[in-house]
């Protein structure tokens, strides 16, 4: 019985999120656009996340390189290290790690911010003041996460590759020219494009989930905490699900 109830709850939640997402395309896409708020959110969400993303990306590139080296040395293909790391970073590690860090930072902050706005009636106040909160708060944030995550991923990939370059140079010597030449030689558009396109969806998911959880926060400070937390959890899970879908779709399209 409890299983049925929780399953119903799950379906209900899914339906609500779907409707919430639908409103982004119906309400959020209509003029007039909140351009100033969008820029503001892009600054908050994109620019201010950059140091965190840069740090994690750098460490990831470095560590991945150092971890992969021994097994490549075993097979005698140490010279393929840049190719291997480059492909891993650009195709999978870069987008997913960046998105997860992004979900942790932005998903929770959106969830908490909108949650506390909901609890302190600021969202109602906006409605009363003739502002559509969905448009002003949700659409701008979702738009900002959708646009900023790919940028962060690209920058993160670059920094990650630089970290990997340093990682290669710990044990052996390679020039930065040769390293990037090798990396780019192995890359194709079919590696880069799907991974950038999927980050658009990652960003969209993080934004939508954060806003949904915040918007439907229950009363009290505990409610805000729960919505911030569940925003991170749900968006992280969604990132992996989207990643799974993305790899299958690229496979289907023959881009893999």
């Amino acid at each position: 019985m409890a299983l049925i109830v929780s399953f119903k709850k799950f379906l209900d939640e899914t339906g609500n999120i779907a409707r919430f997402t639908g409103r982004f395309f119906s309400v959020g896409m209509k003029p007039r656009y909140e351009n100033r708020e969008l820029l503001n959110q892009c600054y908050n969400i994109g620019y201010l996340s950059f140091p965190l993303v840069a740090l994690t990306a750098f460490i990831m590139g470095l560590v991945l390189t150092m971890q992969l080296r021994p097994s490549l040395v075993d097979y005698g293909v140490e010279s393929q290290l840049p190719v291997m790391v480059g492909l891993a970073i650009v195709r999978e590690i870069g987008p997913v790690i960046t998105a997860l860090i992004f979900a942790g930072k932005i998903g929770s902050s959106i969830g908490a911010e909108l949650g506390s706005m909901k609890v302190t009636e600021q969202i109602d106040a906006m409605t009363v003041s003739g502002i559509k909160p969905y448009k002003y708060l949700v659409a701008t944030r979702v738009m900002a996460t959708t646009l900023m995550l790919p940028l962060l991923t690209i920058l993160g990939d670059g920094i990650s590759l630089f970290g990997s370059y340093l990682g290669v140079n710990i044990r052996s010597v390679t020039s930065i020219d040769l390293f990037f030449l090798q990396v780019f030689k192995s890359l194709e558009f079919s590696d880069v494009l799907p991974s950038i396109i999927k980050t658009l969806f990652f960003g969209f998911a993080v934004g939508i989930v954060g806003c949904y959880k915040g918007f439907n926060s229950s009363k009290g400070t505990q409610g805000v905490g729960i919505s911030a937390n569940s925003a991170v959890v749900l968006s992280s899970v969604l990132i992996f699900i989207i990643d799974l879908l993305a790899v299958q779709i690229t496979e289907l399209l023959g881009l893999n």
């Binding site: 609890v119 009636e121 600021q122 109602d124 106040a125 409605t127 009363v128 003041s129």
Partner: protein, 247 residues
Amino acid sequence: MGTTEVESVIVIKDLVKGFGDKIILDGFNLTVKKGSNVVVLGKSGSGKSVLIKCIIGLLQPDSGSINVFKENIPGMNEDELDKARSKIGFLFQSNALYDSMTIRENLEFPLLRHWVDIKKEEVNRLVKEALENVDLLHTLDMMPSELSGGMLKRVALARTMILRPEVILYDEPTTGLDPVTAREIEKLILKLQKKNHTSSIIISHDMNCVKNTADLVVLLLEGKCYIEGTYEELEQSSDQNIKQFFE
């Protein structure tokens, strides 16, 4: 009590609103005359907040009608609601000032939204005037987090007033404030009301507030209008349900 010649600003008929199986408002009726202050009295959870949120269109009632300036709020679409809302002020219990904005931006925000073509100088003038009315001009470029509870309430009041609404809905304006500050807020409400000739519905269970502001008191009990009368009339009532508020 107003006379019959005075036009009615808000007319609520048979309002029903429930959440799930629980019915909060069950056939509520209320008429607010122009220029009068109506206080809705009731216990916590009796549905007072639900009532005024239905009036401003934040909640959709299950049935019944709410006519504000002869227009039915529940039947409106978003755009019409926006238009109607520009004539209705709403003072939130938690003030609902935007944390991320300065006091100036908080006050500008509704102005820029409702009056799209307004000029910059006009905005500045109106913001300053509204803050002067509540004696808080010096807080213009401060953030809400830097102000005390009483100051926040006054800023919220200024923000509610800035659009010159004809009807103002107060959601527990004195709750959570010390008695001295509460009296100041009451005085401000009355002062601004006189200045702008507004009508209002005040929700409260603070009897001092009721006594000082009410032209008419309505007791909300079990989702219905239990009784309405002046403060003095209710104070002398022997009904147990009424007497418990005055003890």
